[in-house]
């Protein structure tokens, strides 16, 4: 059994290193997800596990604890609206700018990409879009997909999905157009795969080095963070976006009370934010 003091130690440790805020009702979750690890490490208590993680200079144990706590739930074209907004509004605008010679590239950053469904959905949206805008080429877009977890990045890079994962949010038409089936596994086609670059990144750390972005997907991740951390990330994201750049959040997330950097916009049934 985890004691309340041990829970608090681990809660603060997790929050410090990845921003995830664990409320007191997550005590049981922490206990179930970390018990095996505690015993594997030869520890008898969660306090021992904590001490061991703190002393581990390689951060291996810290990363393992973070992996065990995070939730990686994701699916294709999640909430659909962001993707229709891309097609109907955002990509149109940038396509015109490219055609007018005002820009050459559209830069996307998907900052909590999990197993790849989100960045690949963006890539497929773009490929569909350019069927009607043949002047644009896949080379006109850059999609950077990052996450804190090595496991999900590995899977995203592989781009292989089983029968269950492939159906979640994905229609048969896209499935047949953009995936290759082999037995029960669907592999994302090379055409889509090569549009996405995966990289490990903890949002807790500085991301200035990524350079200016046009569109940022930061979806179903802020909900896990504390108020202060949310504000901090949103400020840093605003600084990374080009003027007028777009931010998309998860359907249940709203930022309007946390920051003045963005203008909330509506399109059809969906919401997006534009940096002022």
């Amino acid at each position: 059994m985890i004691t309340i003091d041990e829970f608090r130690l681990i809660r603060d440790y997790v929050e410090k290193h990845c921003g995830i805020h664990l409320s007191d009702d997550k005590t049981y979750l922490v206990e179930t997800r970390l018990t095996t690890m505690m015993f594997e490490q030869g520890c008898n208590t969660f306090g021992d596990l904590y001490n061991r993680a703190v002393l581990d200079k390689t951060h291996t144990l810290r990363d393992k604890i973070i992996e065990a706590i995070t939730t990686n739930e994701t699916f294709w074209f999640r909430d659909i609206h962001p993707f229709s907004i891309l097609t109907e509004l955002v990509l149109k605008q940038y396509a015109d700018e490219i055609a007018a010679g005002k820009r050459n590239k559209i830069r996307f950053w998907c900052c909590a990409c999990s197993t790849g469904q989100e960045p690949y959905s963006i890539a497929m949206t773009f490929l569909e879009f350019i069927r009607h805008y043949p002047r644009l080429k896949p080379e006109n877009i850059e999609i950077l997909a990052t996450d804190i977890s090595s496991t999900v990045l590995f899977l995203g890079k592989l781009g292989r999905y089983d029968n269950l994962a492939i159906t979640r949010g994905l229609g048969e038409e896209y499935r047949d157009r953009y995936f290759v089936q082999n037995n029960k596994i669907w592999t994302i086609s090379d055409e889509v795969k090569k549009m996405v670059r995966f990289q490990k990144l903890n949002l807790q750390e500085s991301f200035n080095h990524l350079g200016k972005q046009d569109i940022i997907f930061c979806r179903n991740i802020l909900i896990y963070f504390s108020l202060e951390f949310k504000q901090d990330i949103l400020k840093r994201i605003a600084a990374l976006l080009r003027p007028g750049g777009y931010l998309f959040l998860g359907a249940s997330e709203s930022i309007i009370m946390y920051t003045q950097e963005y203008e909330m916009q509506r399109h059809a049934m969906g919401l997006y934010y534009q940096v002022k």
């Binding site: 018990t35 015993f39 594997e40 992996e67 496991t151 990045l153 890079k157 292989r160 999905y161």
Partner: protein
């Protein structure tokens, strides 16, 4: 990569196979420790990871673990122990005898893939 699942439950082996398929790795299977050792011999020890059930008839997981670690050819193959009970002494014992880590049933595909990556030291 080649993964050997040694488990007397065909359902567990099937579940493991599905995850191995997602990873695109090669899957080998055995119903108990004896068969497991036979497969290793047949494959000349060319296996990258063994997922080893703790409780099996014939030769159980702990016995097979000991046999593996006592064998020059097999002793460096990482072993993930699979079991239903989350017992401290059991886990400590297996780790002391050279198991890399532990996986508690029931586990999700995500748990399993995480363990496999940890055992194979795959990181990004």
């Amino acid at each position: 990569m080649r993964i050997l699942s040694v488990d007397d439950s065909a359902a567990t082996r099937h579940f493991i196979k599905k995850a191995i398929d997602v990873l695109g790795f090669e899957f080998l299977e055995a119903g108990d420790g004896k068969q497991g050792l036979q497969i290793l011999q047949r494959e000349n020890g060319k296996v990258d990871l063994i997922l080893l059930d703790r409780h099996m008839p014939e030769m159980d997981g702990m016995e097979m673990l000991e046999a593996l670690k006592a064998n020059e050819k097999y002793k460096d193959i990482p072993v993930t122990m699979v079991t239903v009970e989350l017992e401290r002494d059991e886990i400590h014992k297996a780790i002391d005898r050279g198991a890399k880590n532990y996986l508690i049933k029931p586990f999700s595909q995500e748990n399993l893939i995480g363990k496999i990556m940890e055992s194979l030291d795959i990181s990004l």
